[in-house]
Amino acid sequence: MSGMETFLEMGGHAGYIWPAYGIVALVLAGLWLASRRFVRASNAELEDLNPRARRKRGSGDEA
Amino acid sequence: MDRMNRFFGDNLTCFRGGRFVFAGLSFAVEEGGALVLRGPNGSGKSSLLRMMAGLLPPSAGALAWDDGRIDEEPEAHHERFHYVGHADAVKPVLTVAENVEFWARLRTPEPDTRAALEAFGIDRLADVPGRFLSAGQKRRVNLARVLAAPVRLWLLDEPATALDADAVRAVEAAIAAHRARGGMVVASTHQALGLDGGDVLDLADFQGEDLDID
């Protein structure tokens, strides 16, 4: 068997080692993505609120 | 709106909690007409409105449109009116627009939410979640759903509670426009609300005598 296959085979324990690393990668990447989306969404909402707030305050002064 | 132009009730009796709240009460409201319910608290104004909405079956007498009694086809009756009670049914997590849109979409596939919000001056709060709103603003959201889906008859139970002068004027304008379009209004209220043209029904005249228990 080529080096690659023996490596992937993990001495017969491939069924446990790769899922373990897979879960860690999945959960850490998932948490990072969720956090990024959380920040992006709140940034966008904040941007969206500010101009309107400024425009409203602007119109409020003129009236 | 279909051409039903008369909603009436004859010889209505309401017996609740061991006493006659009112008895022998008849009324009629025509296209473009208005009926103002007056009377002290507990004289049955709310009960009568709930009876008209079909929530509370009359102990005696009947309510009907031209084409028949309301209890025979409840769903047809429900198509024809909006009922605004004391509770404002605004969901804290939904935005103002989502709240109004939900109710309107149950009646028309394409509700005119924007216009309804503007009519009550809450279009600027369109995407503010309900939990931030004050009592007055929640009230306006509740009233906005009435405008978003036009119907023939409005049943309004103290519509002007918790509303400031500006909002009361908006309610008056909405009612006037509704009547101009041939709509009908039955409202229990202490303020004028521009219903001077309509007739007045004073619940005090129909107080039933108390049941003698012994």
Partner: protein
């Protein structure tokens, strides 16, 4: 007494400086750790290749405990010194800690099957870590259960402090009860009892996870600060709408 970092802008400037470093460290240390863990460290004479799971299981477990300690510290700061950012730090830490606890349980179970022949056993160490996972979820549920965020933060801070008793139990569970789970072999009085070639990937991964923690924590803190600002603007918006209509009413001289 306003803390130096109390106003968010100063904190955000600091976060902007640290975050890229934390990100870089995570990637570098993580990459090196993976390389050592999978390629250049020997298989264990007893367990064979499954020992490689240790390089992610142990750091996850350490992080699970570390995050809860950080959470409890932030909650204590929030309760005692009323530090506004501490509440946000606690809210930001909890999900990260919960994820690491979940990873510790999952990788542990995947390591347990080949080594002990079963995915799960009701052993003192495993059970107390499972309870830690419930404490994290309980904290997050209680924190989000109130409309008013301050109420939620105060209530969940107390829960986090009460739950802290579980951390020493986890730490010493292997010593107090005869557990299937092996006792501590790195942080021990007599120094690490592991062969250096296995120690390097372990420590590399551990530091990579710490850097990852700082990176995601700063991100979530930024989100929490934004959420706080959004709430403030929404409230101002509502009061402004209320005020303009009231003025209009007053302006036209109509009594309300």
């Amino acid at each position: 007494m306003i803390h130096r970092f109390a106003n968010p802008t100063r904190f955000l400037r600091l976060a902007d400086r640290i975050q890229p470093w934390a990100a870089g460290l995570t990637v570098v240390l993580g990459g090196a750790g993976l390389y050592f863990a999978l390629f250049s460290s020997p298989a264990d004479y007893q367990q064979g290749e499954t020992v490689r799971i240790m390089y992610i299981h142990v750091p996850s477990a350490w992080m699970a405990l570390f995050c809860y300690t950080a959470l409890a510290a932030a909650c204590a700061t929030a309760l005692i010194w009323k530090h506004p950012l501490a509440d946000l730090a606690a809210r930001a830490t909890a999900p990260i800690g919960a994820c690491f606890t979940l990873l510790a349980l999952a990788t542990g179970s995947l390591w347990g099957k080949p080594m002990w022949g079963t995915w799960w056993v009701w052993d003192a160490r495993l059970t107390s870590v499972l309870i830690l996972f419930f404490l994290y979820l309980g904290y997050m549920a209680l924190n989000g259960a109130f409309d008013d965020p301050e109420r939620g933060q105060k209530a969940s801070a107390i829960l986090a402090l009460v739950g802290f008793i579980n951390v020493p139990i986890i730490k010493f569970s292997v010593d107090w009860w005869n557990t299937l789970h092996q006792p501590a072999s790195v942080i021990k009085m007599g120094g690490p009892a592991i062969h250096p070639s296995m120690l390097t990937p372990l420590l590399l991964m551990a530091f990579a996870f710490k850097a990852y923690f700082v990176w995601v924590l700063l991100m979530r803190m930024r989100g929490e600060i934004n959420a706080m600002k959004i709430r403030a603007v929404r409230l101002r918006q509502v009061h402004a709408a209320e005020a303009t209509s009231a003025d209009a009413g007053a302006a036209t001289g109509e009594a309300r």
